[in-house]
Amino acid sequence: MTTLVRRWPVGRGALTAALAVVALVLLFLGPTFGRAEPDHNYRPPLPVDAIESGCYPLPGGARLDGLAYQVRRDTDVTTAAGERRRLRGHYDLVDRGEAQRLLVEAFRSVGFTLVPEVAEDAGDTGSHPDGGSGAVQLRADGETVRITVRELPDTDAETLVRGEFVLDLPVVAVARPDDPTCDRPSSTKRWPVPSLSSSWASLW
């Protein structure tokens, strides 16, 4: 062993040359052995947006055009008024008033009309100086939609994400049961919720 350790440097040049030749031969033979197939496990495809996918469409087929948003959770809850669908999301770039205007427009363009609110901050548009969460209600064909928009604390145009919105919608069944996308919670944002009523008790 010791003599092996001592004699190591000898013949190094010849050994290196031989190894280099072998390496080159193998390198040029490489393409004939077939191609490796990596799975990009660590770069999954970005899931389709929950509303864009059309798996669980908004009432009237409404789209949130013009608003930059991300859907966060889409759950069906049991309320005093029966089963309702709560779709929670974040809006980006614009301020609260503009976000609410765009959301209301999205439903108005598919035939919904505003319902005057009885609550203290009634009215459809206009930003609230204290960033308060006034709800807006729209109705069409017996379907009711409530929109609540709220600024997130410590956000501004620089933070990209600026606030939250909650859409209180009628429950809808999956539009395309055979489409695998509609089965994917990462796309539909419909994860099983452990306890429905308690998680919505504090809406924010």
Binding site: W8, F33, G34, R35, R72, D92, D154, T159, V161, S186
Partner: protein, 502 residues
């Protein structure tokens, strides 16, 4: 170089030959341990990040194939598998590419066998370098700590870059020791030495990107040492070698940075994980996605998905979004929370050496022999690991005095350990990161024990110090640097202790 073997202290009555014999037996023991551990891990499916490195290796092998066959490479495949989300640098994929070139469908046992072989060759190269530059007795130390620590040997069969980065780092540290020896004799490092240092440094970075701070620190320290210790024309040669090292480093970093930046449409230098890591380690995870992130996914993938969604909606690069998210989650982090996180990281780094013995198990679980084998591996690991880590860390609070050579080695190893432990201040720690620091910790621990032995009244007489007349200034400066390192370490320990107690 034949001058410095005469400088190595030799105990009266002992010749170098006996150490060489012992070294031979220890290397054989390491090889036997590798052979015994291989069956324990050979059927283990890729665990965690290994999947990313293996995918990267496959994609790099396809790149080689395409280049050799003069066809256009599959850029999409490279973007998805080598860059991905720029979480990892492609050191291990480059290492794995030759395997997948020859065996594109390589089964996991072949991959692990290949990794074991490559790490064995690298480890033997390290041992040889230690023997040449520090002597056979230090080589024996390195073979035992960590070469005979079973969980370290288990890591040699893993596709993570920590262990290989640690090995190349030791090669680099030894070259630095040689460089300082040269400076001491008034010699500047040659241009070739600068080139090799640059190559070794970029290799370490590619294998484990969290070494960036350490490499920058070592580079700066070497530059300062060369500027201070050399005079006249020799100094210019030294600076030229340093410039070449830096240029080599930058030139080889550029292809990755450029490709990753193009893929993610943002400026990526090494990786993109720092903002998310900081937020996960020290910030409020319930604020990272401006609220809670998606369930059903890990704390790395869920924020990434949110960042990509925001990026899609706002037409911004996910890299910028991740930074914005991290800032938001960290906005309430105060010093107490920060130091609590660091202390937690220290615990996670140091107290879990045997985790991966269990993670790298076959999918159907271990049989009786396997379970017994793992148990033996666990026990032997703890037996060797506890002194290694404990004494290694304690040694940071003391410094070597016995000779100039010992001081140089002391500073280089302490800088390495300190630079690697910097990771605890920015990154969640786990049970595999110690593999990078294992050899420097072993050297530091044994050096500390030697100092204690010499300080004891009934120890052997200290070897003749090798201080020449020109070395007085050097010794004074080395002493100052060591004192500084010691004070810094003590300060950090005090702050952490206070944070944990309060």
């Amino acid at each position: 170089m034949t001058r410095w073997p005469a400088r190595l202290p030799v105990r009266p009555g002992q010749t170098g030959l006996r150490a060489d014999v012992l070294l031979g037996w220890l290397v054989a023991a390491h090889v036997v341990m590798k052979v015994l551990i291989y069956p324990l891990v050979l059927n283990a499916e890729p665990f965690g990040d290994e999947a990313a490195y293996l995918d990267g290796g496959m994609a790099m092998s396809n790149l080689l194939r395409d280049v050799v066959a003069f066809t256009a490479p599959d850029t999409t495949e490279l973007e998805l598998n080598v860059v991905g989300s720029a979480w990892f640098m492609p050191g291990m994929p480059v290492l794995l590419a030759p395997l997948y070139l020859l065996f594109p469908d390589a089964p996991i046992w072949l991959v692990r066998g290949y990794l074991g072989l490559v790490t064995l060759m690298l480890f033997l190269a390290v041992v040889r370098s230690v023997r040449r530059r520090l002597g056979a007795r230090w080589a024996c130390v390195v073979v035992v700590l960590p070469g005979l620590v079973p969980s370290w040997v288990v890591f040699t069969y893993g596709a993570w870059g920590d262990l290989c980065a640690g090995l190349v780092l030791v090669l680099l540290l030894l070259r630095l020791v040689d460089l300082v020896r040269g400076l001491r004799a008034g010699e500047a490092p040659s241009l070739r030495a600068g080139l090799v240092l640059g190559l070794q440094a970029i290799a370490v970075l590619y294998l484990r990107s969290s070494t960036s701070a350490l490499l920058a620190g070592l580079g700066a320290a070497t530059l300062v040492a060369a500027s201070v210790m050399l005079r006249g024309r020799v100094r210019w040669r030294g600076l030229a070698a340093a410039a070449l090292a830096g240029a080599t480093f930058a030139a080889l970093l550029a292809p990755w940075s450029i490709f990753a930046s193009r893929t993610l449409d943002a400026r990526v230098l090494t990786t993109t994980t720092v903002p998310t890591v900081l937020a996960n380690t020290f910030g409020d995870p319930d604020e990272l996605c401006f609220g809670r992130c998606d369930p059903g996914s890990t704390m790395w993938f869920a924020p990434l998905r949110y960042a990509r969604e925001v990026g899609r909606a706002t037409d911004t690069s996910e890299v910028e979004v991740l930074q914005v998210m991290s800032d938001h989650a960290m906005r309430d982090v105060g010093p107490e929370r920060y130091f609590d996180g660091v202390a937690h990281n220290l615990a996670a780094y140091t107290l879990q050496p045997t985790n991966f013995n269990g993670y790298l198990a076959p999918p159907e679980g271990r049989g009786l022999v396997g379970t017994v084998g793992q148990l033996v591996a666990d026990v032997l690991t703890w037996v060797l690991y506890v002194p290694l880590m404990l004494i290694g860390l304690v040694s940071l609070l003391f410094h070597a005095r016995r000779s100039v050579e010992a001081r140089i080695l002391d500073i280089v190893t302490k800088l390495a350990i300190g630079g690697l432990l910097l990771q605890l201040f920015v990154h969640l720690a786990g049970g595999r990161y110690w593999a990078t620091a294992a050899i420097p910790l072993g050297i530091a621990a044994v050096s500390f024990l030697r100092e204690r032995q010499l300080a004891g009244s009934d120890g052997p007489p200290p070897p003749p110090d090798d201080v020449g007349p020109s070395d007085e200034v050097l010794v004074r400066w080395l002493g100052r640097v060591q004192g500084l390192l010691r004070a810094a370490t003590t300060g950090v320990v005090v702050v952490l202790a206070v944070a944990v107690v309060l």
